[in-house]
C-alpha cells in the first residue's frame, strides 16, 4: 500500500522529486501515527501515563514562572538562606487541615509593620542623674538621698555637690539618653506554640558621640503580663509596657528604664564577672556590632536549661511562678518558650495547658546614651530588619540545612525543580542508551558470524556486571557532576535491550526485501538504517519509556549516597539531606514523603505509558 502511494506522489510531482518523496513519507508516518493513536487512546493506563508526563514536562519547562529560581540556584548558599530566614523543619501550612492541634503559620513582620511607639530624649538633669546613681552606686545614692531631701528641688541644678555628681555621671554615660520602643505585634490563634521567634537587628558601632547603646526585649502577653527577657522586675515591666502600649509613652515608669547600667554593662563591658551580663551577652549579641545580629528565643531557652546563673533564670521565670507560689528547683528543664504562649496555669512551665490566644507584643526597647558635646544624633542607632514568628510554612514545609542550623529551605521549590532534572536524567540516559543498544543489536544480528559472536560476548560481559556498585565507585572518582552521572548511566544501561533487538534483527534479515536489497547491491549501512532499523524502532519507543524510571531511580540512589551533583537540586539530593539531617528522627515526614512520591509518580507515568506502548507496538506481544 505504501509502495503505491510512493509511486503516485512521485508521478504527481516529478519536478521536485525529493520534496514530493519527503511529503509522502511524512504523510505515511502521519497515517501510521493516527492509526497508532486510535489504538493508544483506548488504553486508560497509557493515557493516564501520557497526561502525567505532559504535566511533568510543563512543570519542568515552566519552573521559572511557577517557582522561585533564586531558591534553587542558592540551594547551598548559606548567606542567601540566612537572609531569607525561613524556619527549620517547618511543617507545611496545610498541616492544620489534618492536625487536630493547630500550628501557627510562619509570620514575617517587616519594618513597615513595626511601630515606633515612644521616642524620648532625656537630658541628664539631676533627677535622671539621681536615678542613675540609684543603680550604679547604691551606697552613694543612699548617702546622697538624705542630703538631697534636705535641699528644695528648685536649688538642685545649682547645688555644687549635685552638679559635680551630674558631671561625673555625664562623663561616664553621656549627657543625653534616648529611648526608642519598637512594637512588634503578633496575632496568635494556634494550639501549638511558635517553634522560634527571631528578631534581626542592627546596631551602629559606638563612637565618641554614641557612647552606649543596646536593646532590651520585653514580651507582652494578651493577658497583660509582661515577661522581661532580662533580669528586671516583671511587675514594673508589666506596668511599663501597659503605659507604652496605651499611652504611647513610658510615663512615670521612664525612670525605671534608667536601670540601664546593667544593660550597658552587658553590651559594652564584654564578659564581665556579673552573672547577668554573661546571659545578656549571649542573648543580646556582641558589643559594637556592625552587621545584623539576631535575637532568638530558642537561644534564650537554651541558656535557661543550664544549671548556672540561677538568679537570672529566676528573674525570668518568676512571672510564671509567683502567681502559683511555685519555687525554683535546679535541674528541672523549664519549657520557657512554650510557657510564654500558655494560659496561666501551674504547669505552664512544663509547657502544658491550653494556649493563650490573642495579640502579643514584643517590645524591643532601644537604649542609647550620647555625648552631646560631640554633635547631634540623626537616627536611632538600632534598626530592626524583621521579626519572624516561626511555625508551619509553605506548601511542602522546610528542611534544615544542618543539624545545628536554625534555617531551612522551601521544599516546595526543591521538589518542583527536581522534576526538571529527573526528566533530563531519565529521558537522556534512557533514550541514548536505548538507541546505542538498538544499533548495536541490529548490527550484531544483521552481520551474524564472527562479528555477532564478538559483539554478543562483549554485550554479555557488560550485561553480567552489576551496575550499582560500579556506578558508586565510578561516580565517587569521576567528579560530582550530573552529566557524569548521565554518561555513566548510558555506559552501563545500553546493553539491556541488545539481546532482544539482536534476535529481532536475526529474523528480519531473512525477510525477502532485505535479501532483495542485498542482491541489488545496496550497501549494509543503508540496509541496516533504512530497512531493519525502522522495523525495530517502535519497540525502541517502548523501551525508552520503560527505561526512564530505572535511570531516575539509579540517579536518585547515587544522590542519596551523596554522589550526586552538589550544585543541582534533585529529589535524590533532598532525600540524602533528609537522611543525613535526621529527618525521620525529627519526625519531619514532609521532608521525606514528597521527593520520594515525586520519583514514584514520574516512574509510574513512564511505566504506564511504556507498557501501553509495548502492548501496541511490540510485535512479540501482538498475537
Amino acid at each position: 500500500m505504501s509502495e503505491k502511494k510512493d509511486k503516485k506522489s512521485s508521478v504527481s510531482s516529478s519536478i521536485t522529486e525529493s520534496y514530493g518523496g519527503a511529503s509522502a513519507s511524512l504523510r505515511r508516518s502521519l497515517a501510521s501515527f493516527i492509526e497508532f493513536w486510535n489504538v493508544f487512546k483506548r488504553s486508560a493506563a497509557g493515557m493516564t501515563g501520557l497526561i502525567l508526563i505532559i504535566i511533568l514536562v510543563i512543570i519542568a519547562i515552566a519552573f521559572p514562572v511557577i517557582g522561585n529560581y533564586g531558591d534553587v540556584k542558592n540551594w547551598n548558599n548559606a548567606t542567601y538562606i540566612a537572609e531569607k530566614g525561613l524556619p527549620a523543619l517547618a511543617p507545611p501550612e496545610w498541616i492544620n487541615l489534618i492536625s487536630s492541634k493547630k500550628w501557627p503559620v510562619t509570620k514575617f513582620v517587616t519594618p513597615k509593620e513595626i511601630t515606633l511607639v515612644n521616642l524620648k530624649n532625656i537630658r541628664t538633669n539631676t533627677t535622671v542623674a539621681l536615678e542613675l546613681l540609684k543603680y550604679t552606686n547604691p551606697q552613694l545614692y543612699k548617702y546622697l538621698s538624705a542630703y538631697v531631701k534636705s535641699i528644695p528641688k528648685s536649688q538642685w541644678e545649682n547645688n555644687p555637690i549635685l552638679k559635680n555628681m551630674r558631671k561625673g555621671l555625664s562623663q561616664t554615660y553621656g549627657d543625653r539618653f534616648e529611648v526608642v520602643v519598637f512594637d512588634i505585634k503578633y496575632d496568635y490563634k494556634a494550639d501549638k506554640v511558635p517553634t522560634d521567634i527571631v528578631i534581626r537587628w542592627n546596631q551602629k558601632p559606638l563612637n565618641s558621640l554614641l557612647t552606649q547603646a543596646g536593646i532590651l526585649v520585653i514580651f507582652v502577653r494578651p493577658d497583660g503580663l509582661a515577661v522581661p527577657l532580662a533580669p528586671l522586675n516583671y511587675n514594673i515591666v508589666t506596668k511599663l509596657s501597659q503605659s507604652i502600649l496605651k499611652n504611647g509613652t513610658c510615663g512615670s515608669y521612664c525612670a525605671f528604664l534608667f536601670n540601664l547600667n546593667n544593660y550597658f554593662k552587658i553590651l559594652n563591658a564584654g564578659r564581665s564577672v556579673d552573672a547577668w551580663s554573661y546571659y545578656g551577652l549571649a542573648i543580646y549579641g556582641k558589643t559594637q556590632i556592625s552587621k545584623f545580629e539576631e535575637f532568638r528565643l530558642s537561644n534564650f531557652v537554651n541558656q535557661l536549661s543550664k544549671e548556672t546563673r540561677i538568679n537570672f533564670k529566676l528573674s525570668i521565670l518568676r512571672p510564671f511562678m509567683e502567681p502559683f507560689n511555685l519555687t525554683y528547683s535546679p535541674g528541672t528543664f523549664y519549657r520557657f518558650g512554650k510557657a510564654l504562649f500558655k494560659k496561666m496555669n501551674p504547669q505552664m512551665l512544663a509547657g502544658k495547658g491550653p494556649s493563650l490566644k490573642g495579640t502579643y507584643h514584643i517590645l524591643v526597647i532601644e537604649l542609647a546614651a550620647y555625648n552631646q558635646t560631640k554633635g547631634t544624633p540623626s537616627q536611632p542607632p538600632v534598626t530592626i530588619k524583621r521579626a519572624i514568628f516561626q511555625g508551619a510554612y509553605g506548601i511542602l514545609g522546610t528542611d534544615r540545612i544542618s543539624a545545628s542550623s536554625p534555617y531551612g529551605r522551601d521544599l516546595w521549590q526543591g521538589v518542583l525543580y527536581g522534576t526538571r532534572w529527573a526528566l533530563i536524567v531519565g529521558l537522556m540516559a534512557s533514550t541514548i542508551s536505548t538507541l546505542i543498544g538498538v544499533i548495536y543489536g541490529v548490527i550484531s544480528g544483521y552481520y551474524g558470524g564472527a562479528i555477532d559472536a564478538v559483539l554478543s560476548r562483549l554485550a554479555q560481559v557488560i550485561y553480567s556486571l552489576p551496575v550499582l556498585p560500579l556506578l558508586i565507585l565510578l561516580s565517587y572518582y569521576v567528579g560530582r557532576s550530573i552529566w557524569n552521572v548521565i554518561v555513566l548511566l548510558i555506559v552501563f544501561g545500553w546493553v539491556g535491550i541488545v539481546f532482544t533487538v539482536r534476535s529481532m534483527a536475526l529474523q528480519l534479515r531473512e525477510n525477502l526485501y532485505v535479501e532483495a536489497a542485498r542482491a541489488v547491491g545496496v550497501d549494509h549501512g543503508r540496509i541496516i538504517f533504512r530497512y531493519i532499523f525502522p522495523q525495530v524502532l517502535p519497540y525502541t519507543f517502548a523501551s525508552i519509556a520503560l527505561g526512564v524510571p530505572g535511570a531516575i531511580l539509579t540517579e536518585a540512589g547515587l544522590s542519596f549516597l551523596g554522589l550526586g551533583d552538589p550544585n543541582i537540586v534533585t529529589w535524590g539530593k533532598i532525600l540524602h539531606d533528609a537522611q543525613a539531617g535526621g529527618a525521620v528522627l525529627s519526625g519531619a515526614w514532609w521532608w521525606v514523603v514528597p521527593p520520594g512520591l515525586a520519583i514514584a509518580i514520574v516512574g509510574l507515568s513512564f511505566v504506564l505509558f511504556g507498557y501501553a506502548l509495548d502492548t501496541i507496538l511490540n510485535p512479540r506481544l501482538r498475537r
Binding site: 554479555q460 553480567s464 556498585p469 558508586i472 565510578l474 572518582y477 542519596f560 520520594g596 509518580i601 509510574l604
Partner: protein
C-alpha cells in the same frame, strides 16, 4: 542468554568462561580506577604509617632511618613501583579475593570493626546476606503464590490489582519506602528500633548472659538452649523486621507479576489442555505440571530480579543502619576510605556474578532441552 548449543558440559564451561571474563574485566576496571585516582589516598596512608613507625621507634629509644622506613612502607603499598605494576598487583589481588591487600584508613571505624579492608568487607557481607536472602526467599514464596493465583484468574480484579501493585512498586525507591517505614514504626509508633546497628552488640550481650547455659552443652540443658535460641531469634527479628518488611513490600508485586506472565504463557501450551481434558484437578495441574514447565524461565527471571534488587537493598541498609555492605558503603564514602570502597565494590561484583552463574547452572539442570543435550531456546 547463551548462544551456544550442545551438551551440558559445554554450556557449563561457557558460563564459567563468561563469569571469569566478567570478573577479570571488573577487577581490571576497578583496579585501574583505584590506581589512577587513589594515589593521594595511598600516599596519605603510607605517610601516616611512616609517622607511626617512627614514633614507636622513638618511644623505644631506638635509632631510625627515615629513608629506610619510607622505602619499606612504600614497598608494602607498591608506591615505589610504576602505576602499571600497581594495576597488575590489584588485579591479581582482587581476582584471588585477597582483600587484605587493600588498605583501610586507621581513622575510620566500621559498625562491626575490622583492622583491614578484608575484615571490614567480610564482616559486612554476613548481615547483608542474612537480610537479603531471607527477604528474597519470602518474596519468591509470596510471588509464586500470588502469581499463580493471578494467572489462574487472568483479567479479574485480583489480577489487575497485582499488575497495579507491580507497576507502582517498580517505580518506588526501596530506600525511600524504608524511610517511611522507619517513620511509621520506629518514630511514630515505637515498635521497632530507629537504628539496627546494635544488632550484633545485642546478640553478644545475650551470648554473655547465657554463657553459663551454653557451657553446659545442649544435651544437658536443652530447655536453656532452646530458650537462648528463641531469644536470639527474637533479637534478630526485632532489629531486622523493618528492613526485611521493606524489601518484601517493594519486591513482591513485581515478582508476582513476572510469575503471572510466565504462568500465563505456560497455560496456553497444549499439554495443559491435555491435562485438563484428562480431568486432572486444577490445583495439581498448576502446582505440579505448570510449575515444572515454568521453573526454567522463573530461575532466569530470579537471577535478574536478585541482581536488580540487591542494589536497592544495599542502599536501604543505610536507612536502617543495618551493619551490612550498604552501611559500610555509606561510611566509606563519607569518610573517603577508598581501600574499603574498592574492596567492597569488587566483593559485590563477585557476589553478583556468582549468583548469576549459579542460577545459570540451576537453569540448565531444570531445562530438559539443555539437560538432554538439545538446543537451548
Amino acid at each position: 542468554m547463551s548462544d551456544g548449543g550442545g551438551s551440558v558440559g559445554r554450556t557449563v564451561l561457557n558460563s564459567i568462561f563468561n563469569a571469569v571474563i566478567v570478573l577479570f574485566f571488573a577487577s581490571a576496571l576497578i583496579s585501574g580506577i583505584f590506581v589512577a585516582y587513589g594515589y593521594k589516598y595511598l600516599k596519605g596512608l603510607a605517610q601516616q604509617e611512616i609517622q607511626g613507625e617512627i614514633q614507636s621507634l622513638v618511644r623505644q629509644g631506638k635509632p631510625y632511618n627515615y629513608t629506610q622506613i619510607k622505602m619499606l612502607v612504600y614497598e608494602r603499598y607498591g608506591l615505589n613501583k610504576p602505576a602499571v605494576y600497581r594495576v597488575f598487583k590489584y588485579v591479581k589481588d582482587t581476582f584471588l579475593l585477597k582483600f587484605g591487600e587493600f588498605p583501610k584508613s586507621p581513622d575510620v571505624t566500621y559498625p562491626r570493626g575490622g583492622d583491614n579492608a578484608a575484615q571490614v568487607v567480610e564482616r559486612a557481607l554476613v548481615p547483608t546476606i542474612i537480610l537479603f536472602f531471607t527477604a528474597e526467599i519470602i518474596v519468591i514464596l509470596i510471588g509464586i503464590y500470588l502469581g499463580f493465583q493471578a494467572a489462574r484468574r487472568a483479567g479479574s480484579l485480583y489480577d489487575k490489582t497485582i499488575s497495579i501493585v507491580a507497576m507502582l512498586s517498580a517505580s518506588l525507591p526501596m530506600w525511600w519506602v524504608g524511610m517511611l517505614m522507619l517513620y511509621a514504626f520506629a518514630y511514630k509508633y515505637k515498635i521497632f528500633p530507629l537504628a539496627s546497628i546494635d544488632v550484633y552488640s545485642a546478640l553478644g550481650k545475650l551470648h554473655r548472659e547465657f554463657a553459663a547455659v551454653l557451657a553446659q552443652g545442649f544435651l544437658h540443658n536443652p530447655i536453656g538452649y532452646l530458650h537462648y535460641y528463641g531469644i536470639s531469634l527474637e533479637t534478630w527479628l526485632y532489629y531486622m523486621a523493618l528492613p526485611l518488611v521493606t524489601i518484601i513490600l517493594v519486591l513482591f508485586g513485581g515478582w508476582a507479576y513476572i510469575i503471572r506472565n510466565i504462568v500465563i504463557n505456560v497455560l496456553t501450551e497444549d499439554f495443559v489442555t491435555v491435562l485438563r481434558a484428562k480431568g486432572i484437578p486444577e490445583r495439581l495441574v498448576l502446582y505440579k505440571h505448570v510449575f515444572r514447565a515454568a521453573s526454567p524461565p522463573l530461575v532466569t527471571m530470579s537471577a535478574l530480579g536478585l541482581v536488580g534488587a540487591l542494589g536497592g537493598a544495599i542502599i536501604t541498609e543505610i536507612v536502617f543502619q543495618w551493619p551490612g555492605m550498604g552501611y559500610t558503603y555509606w561510611i566509606a564514602l563519607n569518610s573517603g576510605d577508598q581501600g574499603v570502597l574498592v574492596a567492597q565494590t569488587y566483593l559485590l561484583v563477585f557476589l553478583f556474578v556468582i549468583i548469576i552463574t549459579t542460577l545459570d547452572f540451576i537453569y540448565m539442570l531444570l531445562d530438559p532441552r539443555v539437560r538432554i543435550g538439545g538446543r537451548r531456546a
